[in-house]
Amino acid sequence: MTDRAIVDGMSPPRFSVPLELRAVAITLALGAIGYTLFPEDLAFLTRLISITLLVLSLDLVTGYCGVATLGHAAIYGVSAYVVGNACLAGHSDPLLLLLVGAMAGAVMGLVSGVLVTRFKGLPQLVLSIAVGQLIAALANKLSSLTGGSDGLSGISPGRLFGVYAFDMYGRTGYVFSVAVLMVVFVVLLRIVHSPFGLLCQAIKDDSLRARMIGARVYPRLVLMYGVSGVVGGIGGALNAINTGVVGLDSVGFERSAEALVMLVLGGAGSLWGALIGSIVFQVFEHYVSAANPFHWMTMVGALLIAVVLFAPKGLVSLGGLLAGRTASVLRRRP
């Protein structure tokens, strides 16, 4: 066998077209399952999708780049406010609003990235919280733009493609959100497997090693923050478009912390982990809080402890763990 034959005969790289198709199929399947099982609860599912985009956005900087942040909701919230204001100013096309949200998120992400990625460890975490708190305080003060504690209301997007109105049952919003999530997810798969994405993971592994192969660490982290901002901004835009209201909670510390919990639950450093974590957490929260409004947080805490103890790399690693255990049990059998 010649060297050339060895190369040609090799299996395709880890990221190939089938993975993209798998992502499309899984996202559509999840969307269809949600629509079938919870047709009366589409508003919850659309909110779930917008928060999922925030968690995916957080995963890009925390899971893939190792940047510690507890202020990521600032990106999400600022975009939601910008989209809300754009809509109130008469720009009601949902696709245009989505673009506005993405751009606002990109700007917010780049600004946050420039500040936060200059540092490491605790100073980085504290700085991210400070950025988040600053934005939350501004949102409260600038009531002419944000509605203050009452929130920004009256956001009424136009028809999607000039045809589909955002109905009170939330069908248009839901289908729109699933499609946006699908597109974003596929694009993100491309990004994290690109040389740029892999170098970001290399920086997370060891920034000095990355420098030794010529990587400019800081600009790359800032750029990834910008990409993350686009994703978080799209999430914020979807939230504003679908709910018609943007409140202070969208920029609050709790939203950031919750997103981090969802990411850890699902598995940081994996887009699938971010997806699974946000779905499991929000479905759990939605139904358990309805069933037991007084103790649901205790149950969420117990779930988190169980996951951290038995699957420290998140729910996404459970499949591999179970497969490994099953294989070892089968091997032990005579």
Binding site: H193, M212, I213, G214, R216
Partner: protein, 237 residues
């Protein structure tokens, strides 16, 4: 990137206030092969790390061709053409073999990977494995391959044969020799296996307590085992 001259003038460097390399000067011509020999702990690794800008600079200058790299960061030095394969191999543990290589692609297309896989067929077979699942020799190959993807004009190799089986050492030396013979890069090799180091290089420099105590052509050392014994405390057989 064509092979470039590496010139070091009066370099002093170390860790914080501690000076390990003391006023060292040498030059490697474009396409040249220099082996750096010395006992353990004399500063060979620190010298290469200093060339890469990873230590505290105390004095002297480092030139790559006409460019003065003394005040440049490690990433800039790498982009200017210095390739460094450290003793610790330094592969990215959370990435697979292929992902490690793709991370080092920079502006090159993925077809560059095919060239690397031709050079390192073993890596092609292990492309889906994570760095931690590789043997020492495979890790060394991966570290070398990733550095080569950056098309360095000067390659700094820090004990690439350390801890490897003789057959793997042969394979790696074969690759390094082929790279040197191509004339596309200048190579500086730090190695404890004196015989292999002398066979590979055209010039040799012996380091003792952070200073260059002897330098000359390899043949001078090969033909004078008593000098090797005096300088390095070992014989060449």
């Amino acid at each position: 990137m064509p092979a470039t001259r590496l010139e070091v003038k009066g370099l002093s460097a170390g860790y914080g206030p501690t000076r390990v390399i003391d006023h060292m000067s040498f030059e490697v011509l474009p396409g040249g092969r220099l082996s750096i020999l010395g006992r353990n702990g004399v500063g060979k690794t620190t010298l290469l790390a200093s060339l890469m800008g990873l230590t505290t600079h105390h004095g002297g200058r480092v030139f790559l061709g006409e460019a003065d790299l003394t005040d440049s960061r490690a990433s800039t030095r790498a982009r200017r053409g210095l390739g460094y394969v450290p003793q610790t191999r330094d592969i990215f543990r959370s990435l697979t073999v292929e992902e490690n290589l793709v991370a080092g692609l920079k502006d090159r297309g993925r077809e560059a990977l095919d060239e690397i896989y031709v050079m390192f067929p073993r890596l092609a077979e292990r492309r889906r494995h994570f760095g931690t699942q590789l043997s020492g020799g495979e890790q060394q190959m991966l570290s070398l391959a990733r550095t080569l993807l950056g098309r360095p004009s000067v390659l700094l190799l820090d004990e690439p044969l350390e801890g490897l089986a003789p057959v793997i050492c042969d394979q790696i030396m074969e690759i390094i020799t082929a790279l040197a013979s191509s004339g596309e890069m200048t190579i500086v090799l730090v190695e404890q296996q004196i015989e292999r180091a002398l066979r590979f290089a055209d010039h040799v420099m012996v380091v003792e307590r952070g200073k260059a105590v002897w330098s000359g052509e390899c043949s001078q050392l090969r033909d004078a085992p008593e000098m090797v014994d005096r300088l390095l405390g070992v014989g060449v057989h």
